[in-house]
């Protein structure tokens, strides 16, 4: 019987370039504190957020995704027609189907690409990078466009004290392709479905259809999620370092999902990060943009020359699911 042919593997993969797009409105704590009976001081102290970016009505999730993708494609120097897969990580694209990725691939000229959305909340981008790495090295796709894009402001309640005030709108994109040296280490990932109910939507769209609920918005049980992020995710971060075969001191940067500054502070201590490692703290100005938060934060570190291309960054995403994924990557 004839042997089946498989895709031709490639030795290594890396991130070629990043792109970023943030909602064009900058919203201060004072502007949103009233309805949640809070204050600028409390928000800063408890979460580290000073401002969050929000997209106005005429700036859609797709607009943000396209802007970020085009920057990444151009910076990578590749022909978008050679993109083999477009992965859009998002929880706020407002259609059940078709996927946002299929429209995005058309808009950026990735005419030959497979396209699909992944729903893995704040772990979405790292899930996407894990998949892109696998696709490139297995030979399934030559280049992969991974985008984390969110317009969370469409799904939040101004009076929700649990999460809404943290959230922002934005998109971050990465081009992943073949490499002559390892640029993406083994991903450590998973999901803790036992805690499915700890962060998510207030209701399903069926409840909304049937008039049983208001427009579904984002909500979380703050304390259990915070504790899970701090204890369990710092373990995952250490596992990702081990999987990559490096120590914390080998890192140039730590880029965590930008959920809460206090989680980031505890991470830094739990990992015993030396002072030399730059820690991404984009949440202060951008807020929590779920799947977009990691690429936006990494893009900013590079743009501001806080880190140099070629160094190693540990990126770790974690959120609703509770889903998580972490990998060490070479900075593009």
């Amino acid at each position: 019987m004839k042997q089946l042919k498989e895709s031709a593997p490639v030795a290594h993969s890396r991130i070629y370039a990043l792109g970023a797009a943030r909602g064009s409105n900058i919203v201060t704590n004072d502007e949103i504190a009233g309805p949640i009976d809070s204050s600028d001081e409390w928000i800063r102290q408890r979460t580290g957020v000073i401002t969050r970016v929000r997209a106005p009505e005429d700036q859609s999730l797709m607009d943000l995704a396209v802007e970020a993708s085009k920057e990444a494609i151009e910076a990578s120097g590749i022909d978008p027609a050679e993109i083999g897969a477009v992965i859009l990580a998002t929880i706020s694209f407002p259609y059940q189907t078709p996927s946002g990725a299929s429209l995005l691939s058309e808009l950026v000229g990735a005419h030959s690409a497979a396209a699909y959305d992944i729903s893995a909340a704040c772990a979405g981008y790292c899930y996407g990078i894990a998949q892109a790495d696998a696709m490139v090295r297995s030979g399934l796709a030559k280049y992969v466009l991974v985008v984390g894009a969110e317009k969370l402001s469409d799904f939040l309640s101004p009076t929700d004290r649990t999460i809404s005030f943290l959230l922002g709108d934005g998109a971050g994109a990465a081009i992943v392709g073949p490499s002559d040296h390892p640029g993406i280490a083994q991903t450590v990932w998973g999901a803790d479905g036992a805690n499915w109910d700890k962060v998510g939507m207030t209701d399903s769209i069926l409840d909304f259809r049937d008039g049983k609920a208001q427009w579904p918005t984002l909500v979380q049980e703050g304390q259990p999620v915070f504790r899970w992020a701090v204890w369990e995710m710092s373990k995952v971060a250490k596992q990702a370092l081990e999987a990559a075969g490096i120590e914390a001191s080998d890192l140039s940067a730590l880029v965590t999902h930008q959920a809460n500054m206090r989680i980031i502070d505890e991470f830094v201590k739990q990992l015993a990060l030396p002072e030399s490692v730059v820690v991404a703290r984009d949440i202060a100005e951008t807020g929590n943009t779920s799947a977009a938060s990691i690429p936006l934060a990494m893009h900013r570190l590079l743009k501001e020359n806080q880190v140099q291309p070629g160094g190693y960054a540990l990126q770790i995403g974690f959120g609703a699911g509770l889903a998580f994924a972490a990998q060490v990557v070479e900075l593009p």
């Binding site: 408890r46 304390q223 504790r227 505890e266 201590k269 015993a272």
Partner: protein
């Protein structure tokens, strides 16, 4: 049974000269441990050359005449008790309803050993008349009793490193039984002296990290190698809830449990099964009418010894089971060192502040947590989630003494 609350706190520690300043320094991740500069270190070739010395010298606070008549342990005791008393607003209480429960591990060891030197070098007539009052272990408690006019009984619990907690537990029950309405409770120690240091070192109990003192006290870390001696005192004013509310006193929190058990296992090593320690924790919670799920914060005994830290973990796991993962544990000896008879008292102060500010203090020096001790130990200050959270503070002493206090936020 009467409800008992904390209306005043005081402390003089290696971190700072007051309760609040010590708490702030703790939150800021400071270390109170430093190299000893005294001549006797080199003179006797003491193997451990660092300790947690009181940040503010007692001689800077007391008048020379007061200081002269008190052993350093009593000096610390008096300073911390006066601070707590003032903090409580100097309650107006009949002397016959005011008691003192103040502990020490060894009491006036400096006075004792200095007097022996005087005897040997200059003969018996040069031994000062105040020597006995100064060396006696009830000295600290008596000094406080006299300063505040306490006539309902002045007591000194002595159970090594569990002394401070035992004193506070006794005070709690004393008020519950109706023997006193207000009790000043706590513990003190001033044993940073060549002999105790050499003696602890001879048992291999002390860390030998002479070249980096601030990193030496490292509870739960894989590289921990023994405890670091500390000196100072902590004091609480405990009173009935009725008395506190009647006079509009500021209430820090409620004290809801104080339990003492014993291991009867080994004179210095804790029972590795943690049965006695576990019983003490459970009894404290029983007294508190609290379930294990009500407990959010544990101020652990955690002295930074290889064996002790694990034994306590075993006991905690026995008590809390899967809820152990929800506990926020602080090992504050990382910052202060081990104040021996004073440890339980200053740790009670820290536990009370944690409940009052709804904030668990960070544990420093925890670079590589021992994988056999998978407790959740925040390295940054972390919020408690329940306004009625229960916190416990553990102290275990040589001799197999287990003393656990339980507090509830109000």
């Amino acid at each position: 049974m009467k409800r008992v609350v904390v209306t005043g706190i005081g402390a003089t520690t290696p971190l700072a000269g007051s309760a609040n300043a010590s708490w702030q320094a703790l939150l800021a991740g400071k270390s109170g441990i430093s190299t000893l500069e005294q001549d006797w270190v080199a003179q006797y070739e003491i193997p451990v050359t660092f300790a947690g010395q009181a940040k503010i010298s007692a001689l800077d606070i007391l008048t020379p005449q007061e200081a002269k008549r008190l052993d350093p342990s009593s000096q610390f005791a008096l300073i911390s008790a006066r601070e707590a008393w003032a903090d409580a607003g100097e309650p107006e209480v009949e002397p016959e309803r005011l008691a003192v429960d103040f502990a020490t591990g060894i009491g006036g060891v400096w006075t004792l050993l200095d007097a022996f030197d005087t005897l040997k070098e200059r003969g018996p007539r040069r031994v000062l008349p105040m020597t006995v009052p100064m060396l006696m272990p009830n000295g600290p408690a008596a000094a406080i009793g006299m300063a505040l006019g306490a006539r309902a009984g002045v007591h000194t619990a002595v159970s090594a490193c569990a002394s401070g907690n035992e004193a506070i537990a006794n005070a709690f029950h004393r008020i519950q039984r109706g023997e006193a309405d207000v009790v000043v409770a706590g513990g003190a120690e001033a044993a940073i002296h060549p002999l105790p240091i050499s003696a602890f070192a001879a048992m291999h109990a002390l860390s030998k990290r002479n070249d980096s003192p601030e990193q030496a006290s490292r509870p739960y870390d894989t590289d921990r190698d023994g405890f670091v001696m500390g000196e100072g005192a902590g004091a609480l004013v405990l009173e009935t809830l009725d008395s506190a509310t009647a006079r509009g006193a500021k209430i820090y929190c409620e004290i809801v449990g104080g339990s003492v058990t014993s291991d009867s296992y080994h004179i210095t090593a804790p029972d590795p099964e943690g049965a006695g320690a576990a019983r003490a924790m459970l009894q404290a919670l029983e007294q508190a009418g609290a379930s294990i799920e009500d407990v959010e914060h544990v101020n652990a005994h955690a002295t930074s010894t290889p064996v002790g830290d694990i034994a306590e973990y075993t006991a905690i796991k026995r008590v809390f089971g899967s809820h152990t993962d929800n506990l926020l544990v602080a090992a504050t000896k990382a910052s202060t060192g081990h104040l021996l008879g004073g440890a339980g008292a200053i740790e009670a102060v820290f536990t009370i502040m944690a409940l009052k500010e709804q904030l668990v203090p960070p544990t420093i020096n925890l670079d590589n947590q021992d994988p056999n001790i998978p407790l959740n130990v925040p390295r940054t200050s972390m919020s408690l989630s329940r306004p009625d959270a229960v916190a416990i503070s553990n102290s275990f002493g040589f001799g197999g003494h287990n003393a656990v206090l339980a507090f509830r936020a109000v």
